[in-house]
């Protein structure tokens, strides 16, 4: 195995493109090192992207926040600007593993690891986040929900990596939230995760919403029908019941020791309703 820590995006792209196949990007390493040490992967090349300029930065851009692919979730949690704009995303990133794991784990790593249960991903999807991808052809921006294609698989092409995640400027009177179900209070993998973001007009009617589910399908889901259940309503009990039903209906989970199909399907609806209530109270300020 070769270890490289390039200082520019171009060098990183060149390294990844040349070693296509068994080259792996290293961000926080909290997934990669586990797989490396267990022998699940035998990379020829590991490209540590954290020394590339800008990778450790959180920068304001058009009222939103651009988060470098090397920023650990602990740093996100300490950033008042991001916390104020997207508390649900910050809370989701704050659920990843322990204090130690959060000292290293990145949003981009959580996304590119492509676990269906990744905690920050439904929250980012609800927030309408985009990933800026650097590659041999330059950079392109892609909606976060279009990056994972299945467990452990992404739509990234050879030589490409995620350079940053962009969280857009939240609209006035909007709020977001993320909730997950785990059997304990810490250090566990989501059985179901749900992110909700919504915006109200001045009269309190919901004018925009995004609802996303994790761990209930092969990849993160953006549930349009659940969002539609909220838009045009005051996010009252009837609307929340419709949201909940739409979320349960969208699930196609696996049955495993962490939760049965019936359990995950039910919990998805319950969490969606609870997350929507939190997002609503945040939107109302």
């Amino acid at each position: 195995m070769r270890y490289e820590a390039p200082q520019s995006v171009d060098t990183a792209v060149a390294l990844l493109a040349e070693a296509a196949g068994s080259a792996h990007v290293l961000a926080g390493g909290t997934d990669l090192l586990v797989r490396l040490r267990s022998g699940h992967i035998e990379p020829e090349l590991v490209v540590d992207i954290k020394r590339i300029e800008g990778m450790r930065a959180i920068v304001e851009e058009d009222g939103g926040w651009r988060i470098g692919a090397g920023v650990p979730s602990a740093e996100l949690g300490e950033h008042a600007g991001v916390r104020g704009a997207w508390p649900g995303v910050v809370e989701a990133a704050g659920l990843i593993g322990s204090t130690q794991i959060q000292g290293r784990a990145t949003l981009a790593g959580n996304l590119c690891n492509a676990s269906p249960a990744a905690d920050s991903v439904p929250a980012m999807v609800a927030a309408g986040a985009t990933a800026r991808i650097a590659g041999p052809g330059g950079t392109r921006d892609v909606a976060v929900e279009d990056i994972p294609t299945g467990p452990g698989r992404t739509s990234l092409r050879p030589g490409e990596f995620v350079a940053s995640i962009y969280l857009p400027a939240p609209a006035p009177r909007s709020g977001d939230a993320y909730l997950r179900f785990i059997p304990r209070t810490e250090m566990d993998i989501a059985v179901v995760g749900c992110g909700v973001a919504l915006t109200l007009d001045e009269g309190g009617t919901c004018i925009a919403a995004r609802v996303s589910l994790g761990a209930v399908a092969a990849k993160v889901l953006l549930v349009g029908k659940a969002a539609a259940a909220l838009v045009g309503t005051a996010v009252d009990d009837t609307a929340l019941a419709a949201l909940s039903a739409a979320c349960s209906e969208a699930c196609s989970p696996i049955d495993d020791k962490r939760g049965t199909v019936a359990f995950r399907t039910h919990v998805a609806g319950v969490l969606a309703e609870r997350a929507a209530r939190i997002a609503l109270s945040r939107a109302k300020g």
């Binding site: 195995m1 070769r2 270890y3 820590a5 290293l26 926080g28 390493g29 909290t30 090192l33 586990v34 490396l36 040490r37 267990s38 590991v46 540590d48 954290k50 650990p72 602990a74 593993g97 322990s98 204090t99 130690q100 794991i101 000292g103 290293r104 209070t185 810490e186 250090m187």
Partner: protein, 171 residues
């Protein structure tokens, strides 16, 4: 395979080492530098026995490559006491009998020190969440939390700081 030359600072001392690309920071500390305070409990980020700080951030040294340490500042349990003078956390761990086999202790001390640097007045709940990534199979955690809360109070100057007295009371 060619080894990587790394220059770093460990517990305030300029340190150089050679490592294999796949060596973790924990491998380097224990096997190349003889700093065996950090333990390998699991090697998968679950137990926290390998906790160190890198540029003041608490991490698992088992999930970081040695090569990544280039130019960083690492702090391990070996740097916690000031010569023969124990850190208040170390003293309180003895006083409260917050360890039995001791395997988890270096990691928990490093993690607790990092907690108190970030939050000198944590609630018990905050302390328990902060330390949730540090497993202990012996103590049942309660004595650990008592020791951390007591050390925090002492460090805030809320109770008398008399190491000899606290050691006498512990024995």
């Amino acid at each position: 395979m060619s080894q990587i030359h790394v220059t770093t600072k460990i517990n305030g001392d300029e340190t150089e080492f050679l490592c294999e690309p796949e060596d973790t920071l924990l491998d380097v500390l224990r096997d190349r530098l003889g700093l065996t305070g950090a333990k390998e409990g699991c090697g998968t980020g679950d137990c926290g026995a390998c906790s160190v700080t890198v540029d003041d951030r608490l991490v698992c040294s088992c999930l970081m490559l040695g090569a990544e340490a280039e130019g960083r500042e690492i702090a391990t349990i070996e740097g916690m006491a000031d010569g023969e003078v124990l850190h208040p956390l170390q003293r309180k761990f003895i006083e409260h009998a917050a360890l039995q086999c001791g395997i988890c202790t270096p990691g928990i001390l490093v993690a607790a020190k990092s907690l108190l640097e970030n939050n000198p007045d944590p609630s018990e709940e905050e302390a328990r969440y902060w330390l949730a990534g540090n497993l202990c199979r012996c103590t049942g955690y309660d004595k650990i939390i008592r020791a951390v809360m007591d050390a925090a109070a002492e460090m805030r100057g809320e109770i008398a700081n008399d190491p000899d007295d606290s050691l006498r009371r512990a024995s």
